[in-house]
Symmetry: C2
Subunit: 414 residues, 2 copies
């Protein structure tokens, strides 16, 4: 069993999200360990020493995050000394590393820096190439207590490079293998119903988890087995079955987001893209641009928020807007076609909807969104209903638009 | 002392962020309670009963979240029965509420629903108008254990309406008052240095917390005192001082985001806005549009990601791009001026930068961003450096652009 303890008043006062605990819990689980408890405690040396003592009484592995800085708030080293009945001693390799880091930044060594190079006697320092606070590894009677700095990128780097490999070498864990399947176009209850029989037939040792966010559900299939190969085969067999059961919902694998998938497909096909957005207000284009290298296929977008903008910049015929309204299949079709023509792009996405809270009518309530995708062979448009929460509405419409584009590219370019 | 316990394997396996714990910790702190520990545990009845027992031994208030659903995974009620030596009994008011909810949704009552209406004997049900799982309130020997459903909006509603008021009525907490000051245009270490003397002179009982995110630092000033009035006065006195020390960084109060501030100022002045974005790819316009009612002042935007787009749609002179490059004060000035002219807007924001990871040069490394704001009285442009992380670079550039616009509107319209 593993326990994670995160340290800091900013956590118990709810000032920040405990991203380190989530990250560590996920990585440890995927490495084959079982996390039985996560605790967040205040910056109090005595309490912390007690909490670590309890945890290491129950569990083989205790991972600490935070409280390793040089200020009086930082109580982790003191708590570890109390626990092990040791005192702090200077660690030369750490001192030299800190000296080198400060020199590179043009800073002078001070008393705080010297303190940072101290670790409890009998423990081992863990290198922190990205910061000045070293990690601490204490091994005793078959149990390990490991402390890492609370700065997320320092902790993640230290965990990946040093702590996880050492823990795997110290404890025998079952071999494990995980695969993430990205899906779009459904919601959790719907997908769970479709996959009811699939879940029932999963062999023991294989697990499935649904990770939902607006417009995207990730399915995580995992297995623990006697060997890496066996675990991988167990999972891949189920992934193949999923590919046959829900091909229309699967957009990618292993954390490839929809905007990354779309980018990959466009690059492979040598095609270009533009956007014409109304209600999503630039969210679709900002997602496309979040992908490094998107300038290879993304020409740009027009955020035609007002009708005036739609008429003047997207050259939408006034009569279409008058007859069908801004939120209509006809309008988004015209937006998609015109944006391709104006910008000389191969593909385009157009979105127009009622994001709310105002602007709904009985015929077109808040949440109504029309999306069109224009491609070399023509234009398709669809009407959706995404509910009355403005933020979620915009997110879901953006994901649906990217998914429509993805499907269209797959059809056209295959 | 208060402890929070969140329940579910999805937490200990790191599949989801523990947003309930953060939310509860923040609200409890702001209500004058001290949260000493947050624990997340697996869906295991026996372990959970033990964890609750320990927590209620140490603390007066134990708040539980999750595990109240009708499936076998849901172990909270069982654990509470184990703890109190009681059994589950049907609660008529809850049963009638569930029956009514299901009827409204056109669903039939089943065995699971009946189970949901049961609570441990001797406890009190807490109404859940937004869902079928009731909350549970157990009061014994001056201590309270309260269980709430894990669905965030159900929990938040129940906590606001029922649990927080009851806890405040049951326990005498110091009066407290909090104020959030929104700042932009600095970073945490810089602001902490500027505010060094201010922090030192803070009277005892008044606290300051820095809540940082890319481009925005919220300062939360809080006080606990004998009366609400006293606490409010203590905080407001310090807020006034802050207004004098860092007026150029303060953008708003009490969670008014920069895009909300900008919207409020534009509405008050009866002015319109458009955007011309390159590297931020629509992020600025999507932020503007995230504010309900933004159609009153936002006409739309042009995401001119390629030079072709800048030339054809923003009518940027080719010679400017050739001479100064796409990332230059000259180019963003032209983008800002032309977008105002083309769309007939009073104000515009233009952004062009090198978001990375590719595209940097020695003269213009990754992170270089130029921003211009055009207003009725002219155009100003600035060059920034936002570091080499693409996502943060885009976020910080977008915040800086909105902040430049905010300052400009304040200068012009006052």
């Amino acid at each position: 069993m593993t326990e994670i303890i995160t340290i800091g008043n900013e956590l118990t006062e709810g000032r920040i999200s405990d991203t380190n605990a989530k990250w560590l819990a996920e990585r440890m689980t995927m490495a084959g360990f079982t996390v039985s408890r996560i605790s967040s405690v205040r910056d109090d040396r005595e309490t912390l020493a007690g909490v670590i003592r309890e945890a290491s009484g129950r569990s083989d592995i205790v991972i600490l995050s935070g409280g390793l800085g040089p200020t009086t708030d930082d109580v982790t080293k003191g708590a570890l000394c109390d626990l092990t009945g040791s005192k702090l001693v200077g660690e030369k390799t750490v001192f030299l590393h800190i000296k080198k880091m400060l020199k590179e930044r043009g800073l002078k060594l001070n008393e705080n820096n010297r303190k940072q190079s101290e670790i409890p006697e009998g423990s081992k320092a863990i290198a922190n190439p990205l910061g000045t606070a070293p990690g601490i590894w204490i091994e005793k009677e078959g149990k390990v207590i490991v402390a890492m700095p609370g700065v997320p990128f320092e902790l993640e780097n230290m965990a990946e490079k040093e702590v996880l490999p050492r823990l795997k070498a110290t404890f025998s864990t079952p071999s494990s293998y995980y695969r993430t399947i990205m899906t779009s176009g459904s919601f959790e209850a719907m997908l769970a119903e479709i996959l009811g029989d699939f879940e029932k037939q999963l062999p023991s040792g294989v697990s499935i988890a649904y990770l939902s966010s607006p417009g995207v559900i990730k399915l995580r299939l995992g297995a623990r087995a006697g060997s890496d190969n066996e675990a991988r085969e167990m999972v891949e067999r189920e992934v193949e079955k999923l590919n046959k059961i829900i091909p229309e919902y699967i957009t990618g694998y292993d954390d490839e987001t929809l905007e990354m998938t779309v980018g990959r497909l466009l690059k492979a096909a040598g095609r270009s893209l533009c956007t014409a957005e109304s209600s999503t207000g630039g969210t679709v284009s900002s997602m496309i641009v979040s992908v490094p290298g998107s300038s290879e296929y993304f020409k740009g977008g027009i955020v035609a928020y007002s009708n005036e903008f739609k008429i003047n910049l997207l050259e939408i015929d006034n009569t279409i807007l008058d007859k069908y309204g801004a939120v209509s299949r006809q309008t988004v079709e015209a937006m998609a076609k015109n944006s391709c023509r104006i910008t000389g792009s191969d593909y385009s996405i157009a979105v127009s909807g009622i994001a709310g809270p105002e602007g709904g009518t009985p015929a077109k309530p808040v949440g109504t969104v029309c999306i069109a995708v224009n491609s070399p062979s023509g234009c398709i448009a669809k009407k959706f209903s995404f509910g009355d929460n403005r933020r979620r509405n915009i997110q879901r419409a953006s994901m649906a638009a990217l998914n429509m584009l993805r499907k269209r590219i797959c059809e056209e370019e295959s």
